[in-house]
């Protein structure tokens, strides 16, 4: 369980430098005695990498399939029921690789939520193509979208949206029952540090605990993409950071594409890619070769 603090992820596209870096003990066998993959530890501990993960993150790099994981192409969403049409999304295009941590920035009403919703198959678009993991979301029927969401998407809300009538473990199990190969609910909850809150109702949990439960719920179905709409919006600074850490670790360790929406620009540095929105258009797509660790950012 070594942590290579030098590793900063791919510096740029097609950067294989790290492969050649002999100093890089990326390929060292990890000195862990137990074979169980521990994905997460509690708040203060650090993630570890294993061969599997490397395999998973490197091979796709080699295979050059990186950037085709999520494709947004000329997507527009127009609301025409007002007197003047409103362009929530105006000919938006971007691409996201698998395993990327993306932050979507922009002021209120910029279109980031719209893009996220469209991506997650929760909303339709007026024109354009959206492909996620080979699925042409923009052309899917409602039922197909439901299946898509069921199996491939994990969603995290600003206000957690846990089922009030179910306990923590039940909230997670509810979702676990939906998919074919769920992860173990208790394990997941343990990993987010809620093993002593399994049988409490959401009303009995703090904000941070609720969001963590929310994350556990999202992850239990082992999704391909994790969509987070202002995950820290309702949380205080410290708790918010914990959640971000969790998301960050998820992304890295599980090779899950994580997309975070926020209007807090100070969060942006943790991302691999930052997409900025304004008035329904993308103003910039920034690649971050060296994402800042969560612990180091302040807002």
């Amino acid at each position: 369980m070594n942590f290579n603090s030098n590793y900063n992820g791919p510096q740029k596209e097609n950067d294989f430098s790290m492969l050649n870096d002999k100093n890089n003990n990326l390929f060292d066998e990890p000195k862990n005695d137990n074979n169980i993959e521990t994905l997460f530890l509690s708040d203060e501990s650090t993630p570890a990498m294993t061969n599997n993960i490397i395999q998973e993150s490197v091979l796709p790099l080699l295979n050059n399939k990186l950037d085709n994981f999520i494709i947004f192409k000329n997507v527009s969403k127009i609301y025409s029921d007002e007197s003047t049409p409103v362009y929530a999304l105006d000919n938006v295009s971007f691409e996201i690789s698998q395993g990327e941590l993306v932050v979507m920035l922009g002021p209120s009403g910029a279109g980031k939520s719209t893009a996220l919703n469209a991506l997650g198959g929760m909303d339709t678009v007026s024109s354009g193509t959206i492909i996620v993991d080979g699925v042409e979301v923009s052309k899917c029927s409602l039922n197909e979208l439901t299946e898509f969401r069921r199996n491939k998407i994990g969603f995290i809300f600003q206000f957690y949206n846990l089922i009030q009538n179910l306990t923590t473990i039940e909230n997670v199990k509810l979702v676990a029952e939906l998919c074919k190969n769920p992860l173990n609910s208790e394990e997941i909850l343990k990993k987010v540090g809620l093993d002593n809150r399994l049988n409490n109702f959401p009303s009995q949990l703090s904000g941070g605990e609720q969001q963590r439960a929310s994350v556990a719920r999202a992850l239990v179905k082992n999704p391909k993409v994790l969509l987070c709409d202002e995950p820290t919006g309702a949380l205080d600074y410290k708790t918010g950071k914990q959640i971000l850490q969790l998301l960050y670790d998820t992304c890295r360790n599980n090779h899950i594409t994580v997309i975070i929406i926020t209007h807090n620009t100070l969060i942006a540095p943790i991302a691999d890619k930052v997409i900025s929105f304004k008035s329904g258009k993308i103003t910039s797509v920034k690649i971050n070769p060296k994402p800042t660790p969560v612990g180091e950012i302040e807002w």
Partner: protein, 1050 residues
């Protein structure tokens, strides 16, 4: 100022926008209010309308307040005195009324004929067609006479009664009289005991010397249905009664005196006749007894055989002596004779012998020259001749000797003696016979003379007896006449006036009760409806305000005053209430009275319904609707407004989850799937909603079942009565003139018809039984023979197979009657017959019965009660197979001994028609209840959804398929509906009982059972509506947009 105006304008725009945006919600609120208010106002105003229509009718026609009937009649003088002496009387009129039995189109009917005078102000007639009569040979009739019998204006009716100047009257119009409100027209002593129709002829057509009926109107018109009127009527009735004796005896005093004088004269006449007869009788009798005496003396002189013998005894003895002597002499003679003859015989024998010898000798001698003799030389001949000669000589000698010995003197002597004796005897005999003959003849003569006289005397005696009988008979007849006259006099002296108030008019009191029934119904149904409706509005409005939380918070933050914010909701709810109430009142006030009136028109002869706008109930309904909705809005809003704007604008913290009781039983809980766990938790989390759904659905379901139960109770009456209780098919009523023998022979004839299976004779009459102010008409049935009667009517215990037998110590009453009079087995009660006589009976058993009232008793009991032997005036028959009714009825009445025949199948049909109409009411109620259930379910379901929009959106996001989302919500609804159903079914039993008791009319018995089909239909209807709600909810669920509901709107 301008700013405020702008705000107000936008404010209203906002309100209208709110309504438009959620038009479904607004409409459903309006619907709930309309149903509640409509039902409430409609039902509550039905009975007032029905009462007012009749009240109005009564005042238009100036319906009498009191009717006085007297067999002795009234004259104007009495009526005027009465008016003066009893305060309350404003108007009093005399009239004529007579019941006649006449044949109309081959049916014998009992018709009540009234006198019409155009000067009459009381009991005015309403003309339906044609005109009122003014000539003596004209008449007007009631409507049903037209329909039922098939008469037309211009047809002639023969009254067949000498009390009318013109017996044949022509129909000139159809009228309606306020005296008859009900199709039950009262009883009579004629024919079958019920009045069939009424009609009016001109008063002048009556041949009566005095009015036989008088009508009274009070001063100061109170509402006829009010209690102050009842009191007034009762008091006036008593006042009249108190005056009646005085007045009537005044009127009759002359008559009484006259009658008394007549009686006295008759008594005197009787006495003199009696005395005369008596003296004649005495003299005749004494004559006879004298004659008898003489006769007796005569008879005493008649000699008996013994006496005659005694009288002749001397002669007889002399005769005997002579006879004896004669016999002796005869004997001697005979013996002498015999001796003599013996001797003579000897001689003659000898002589004969001699002769023969001589003959032989002669012959021989003569043969001397014969050959044979010559041949023998006459030697033998000479010898033989010598022999013969010797013999002859011997014989001659003997003969001579004998002749000498015969002595004839003894004989002669004996003969002499005998002759003497004989003549002696004959002489005495002659004497004796003469004496005997003489005396016997004399005796016989005497006897026969006496016998003749006796015969005469007997004849005379007989004549006397006959005369006696005749005279006694005549005297007795006279006596009876005097007694009758005395009875009449007593009647005159004790003349009773029969005084009737409006409550004694059966139509009026029935109608009054029936209308009360409806108003009782109106106490229950609308309340339930309204309750459910109010509950629904409560939830809808609180929900609405809930949803507007953030908006309210925003408005508050913007600086709007609480009052202004509140006003939005007040306006919204007021608008909905007013629109709903207006629609409800309009439809309800028209629909319900019309429905009820139509039904009751079947059993009454009512004028047109007068609909009136019942301000009180309309306003009450509107106010209740308004208050409940506005109050809810205000309360809910106020509690929201209390909170700080910031808090309002934040999301409302969802109600926390909690462990429910069932969770503590892991055995069960752990077996539940997620969905089930969620469903259960949700059910018990929102307790208010749980209760309201269950109560709402239960209320509607129980209403439906109870309504069905009412319909079943109503529609089962006919089959139950006419198949289970009555097995008879036809009732035949004998004419009054048919004698008892003919009754029996007619029964034999009818039984012989092939269509007739069984027959049974009975005596049936109408009597009345009363309890406080209520009077009921009862059929008194006296079966001739119990065994055959059981083929016609089943007397049995209710809801059991136990059958009852009539016994001689009590009666059997029908169950409704027993219920109305509060009687149970062993109780005693009285009834009054047609003649006004009251009898007390003991109730032995109470029998199952559904239609009308019956009292059954044996002939012995009847005799013990009344002292008369029943006349079996009815023949009940039970038929077999198919037959044509009109042909069969002709066969039945071939001998024309029946005055009327009732085919029970027709009675069934009539009742069926009445029941059909009641069905309409019930269907209306069922539909309304169903609609209400639908509205309840939909409302609560949509509230359910709207409260949990974010939850539903979340699970959609999580990837719940449409079906899974549906199940998430719908399972709850299904369980709630089911619980509502179950509660409703339980509740329905109580509700059914209440409704049936309320709606039951006096003459019918409703069975309080609920058929399983009612449950099934109610369940099906509920499930049907639940399914429709399901579909609608499905659409609503689909319409929940995920993203809209998960974020606070930016």
């Amino acid at each position: 100022m301008v700013k405020e105006k702008k705000i107000t304008k936008t404010f209203f725009k906002e309100i209208i926008a709110t309504i438009k945006k959620n038009i479904k919600k607004f409409v459903s609120l309006v619907c709930i209010i309309f149903l509640g208010v409509g039902f409430f106002a409609g039902m509550k105003s039905s009975s007032p309308d029905m009462r007012d229509t009749v009240s109005d009718y009564f005042s238009r026609t100036n319906f009498m307040d009191i009717k006085i009937v007297s067999s002795n009649g009234f004259n104007d003088k009495i009526l005027n005195s009465l008016k003066e002496e009893v305060d309350e009387i404003d108007t009093i009129e005399g009239g004529y009324e007579l019941d006649v039995a006449t044949t109309l189109k081959n049916t014998e009917l009992a018709i009540a004929v009234y006198g019409y005078d155009e000067n009459n102000v009381i009991n005015k007639l309403e003309v339906i067609d044609g005109r009122l009569p003014y000539k003596d040979n004209e008449c007007v009739v009631e409507e049903s006479l037209f329909h039922d019998i098939g008469y037309d204006i211009g047809d002639v009716i023969n009254l067949n009664n000498s009390n009318f100047k013109e017996e044949r009257v022509t129909i000139v119009g159809i009228i309606r009289s306020p005296l008859y409100l009900s199709t039950d027209k009262g009883t009579t002593s004629l024919l079958s005991g019920r009045i069939d129709y009424y009609m009016y002829v001109v008063a002048n057509n009556f041949n009566l010397e005095a009015y036989d009926v008088a009508y009274v109107k009070f001063k100061n018109n109170d509402n006829t249905f009010s209690s102050s009127y009842q009191t007034k009527a009762y008091n006036t009735k008593n006042a009249i009664k108190n005056k009646s004796k005085e007045l009537s005896s005044e009127y009759l005093s002359d008559k009484i005196n006259e009658a008394q004088k007549e009686i006295d004269d008759m008594e005197a006449e009787y006495n003199s006749q009696y005395n005369e007869a008596q003296s004649q009788l005495d003299s005749a009798e004494s004559q006879i007894s004298n004659a008898e005496e003489q006769l007796n003396t005569g008879y005493n002189q008649v000699k008996t055989e013994e006496q005659i013998e005694a009288y002749l005894s001397d002669l007889k003895s002399a005769l005997d002596v002579a006879k004896t002597q004669l016999d002796l002499a005869k004997k001697a003679l005979d013996s002498a004779n015999s001796e003599y003859s013996q001797a003579n015989d000897e001689i003659s024998t000898k002589k004969k012998e001699l002769q023969s010898i001589i003959d032989t000798y002669t012959k021989l001698y003569n043969d001397k020259n014969c050959d044979s003799v010559l041949s023998s030389g006459r030697i033998l001949w000479r010898l033989t001749c010598t022999l013969y000669k010797n013999t002859i000589d011997s014989y001659q000698t003997q003969l001579d000797a004998l002749s000498v010995s015969v002595d004839s003197s003894a004989l002669t002597q004996a003969q002499k003696v005998y002759n003497l004796a004989y003549s002696n005897y004959t002489t005495i005999l002659a004497q004796y016979q003469t004496a005997s003959t003489t005396i016997r003849n004399e005796n016989a003569k005497l006897k026969s003379t006496l016998d003749e006289q006796k015969a005469l005397l007997d004849e005379k005696k007989e004549e006397l007896e006959a005369e006696k009988t005749r005279v006694t008979g005549e005297l007795q007849t006279f006596r009876n006449k005097i007694d009758d006259a005395k009875d009449q006099l007593n009647l005159l002296k004790n003349s009773d006036w029969y005084i009737y108030t409006r409550s004694d008019n059966s139509g009026y009191s029935q109608y009054y009760d029936d209308v009360n029934r409806i108003s009782n119904l109106a106490k229950i149904f609308p309340i339930i409806f309204f309750l459910v409706a109010v509950l629904m509005t409560l939830t809808t409005i609180s929900r609405m305000i809930e949803e507007d939380r953030t908006q309210i918070g925003t408005l508050k933050a913007l600086g709007f005053k609480n009052g202004q914010i509140l006003s939005k909701y007040i306006i919204y709810t007021t608008t909905a209430s007013i629109i709903g109430s207006i629609i409800g009142i309009t439809i309800g006030l028209i629909l319900f009275p019309i429905i009820f009136y139509k039904i009751y028109s079947m059993m009454y002869m009512l004028p047109e319904l007068k609909l009136s706008f019942n301000l009180f109930y309309s306003m009450a309904g509107l106010l209740i609707a308004l208050t409940s909705t506005v109050l809810t809005a205000v309360l809910a809003c106020k509690s929201t407004l209390k909170e700080a704007p910031a808090k309002l604008m934040k999301r409302k913290v969802a109600k926390p989850g909690k462990k429910m009781l069932l969770e503590y039983i892991p055995f069960i809980w752990n077996r539940f799937s997620f969905n089930r766990k969620i469903t259960f938790r949700n059910l018990f989390r929102y307790k208010k909603r749980l209760i309201m759904t269950v109560v709402g659905v239960a209320g509607c379901v129980s209403l439906i079942i109870a309504s069905f139960s009412l319909r079943d109770a109503v529609s089962n009456i006919v089959p139950d009565q006419y198949s289970n209780i009555f097995s008879m098919d036809v009732q035949l009523f004998y004419k009054d003139s048919v004698d008892r023998n003919t009754i029996l022979t007619e029964q034999e004839y009818v039984s012989s018809l092939p269509e007739v299976k069984n027959s049974s004779l009975a005596h049936i009459e109408n009597v009345t039984m009363s309890l406080s102010t209520k009077t009921y008409t009862v059929y008194l049935v006296v079966p001739h023979d119990n065994d055959s009667f059981t083929n016609m009517v089943k007397l049995k215990k209710s809801a059991s197979d136990e059958e009852y037998n009539l016994s001689d110590d009590g009666v059997i009453l029908s169950q409704k009657l027993a219920k109305l009079l509060n009687l149970s087995e062993g109780d005693k009660f009285s009834f009054i017959d047609n003649n006004g006589d009251e009898y007390v009976v003991r109730v032995n058993n109470i029998t199952e019965n559904y239609v009308e009232h019956y009292m059954y008793m044996t002939p012995e009991y009847y005799y013990n009660l009344t002292g008369t032997n029943v006349r079996n005036n009815t023949l009940l028959i039970d038929t077999d197979g198919d037959y044509d009714e009109s042909e069969f009825s002709r066969k039945l009445n071939k001998n024309n001994n029946f005055s009327s025949m009732i085919f029970l199948s027709i009675a069934q049909e009539t009742y069926n028609e009445i029941m059909q109409n009641l069905n309409v009411v019930i269907i209306v109620i069922i539909i309304s209840a169903g609609l209400l259930a639908f509205v309840v379910l939909y409302n609560l379901a949509s509230i359910n959804i709207s409260e949990r929009k974010s939850e539903i959106a979340t699970i959609k996001v999580l990837g719940f398929r449409k079906k899974e989302v549906d199940i998430y919500i719908k399972h709850e609804m299904k369980i709630l509906t089911l619980m509502g159903l179950i509660f409703g079914i339980i509740l329905s039993k109580f509700l059914a009982k209440i409704i049936i008791n309320t709606c039951e009319v006096d003459s019918l018995m409703f069975k309080n059972t609920i058929e399983w089909t009612s449950y099934v239909v109610a369940i099906v209807i509920t499930l049907l509506f639940a399914t429709v709600v399901d579909l609608l909810i499905g659409k609503d669920l689909d319409n929940i947009k995920m993203m809209d509901n998960l974020k606070v709107k930016e």
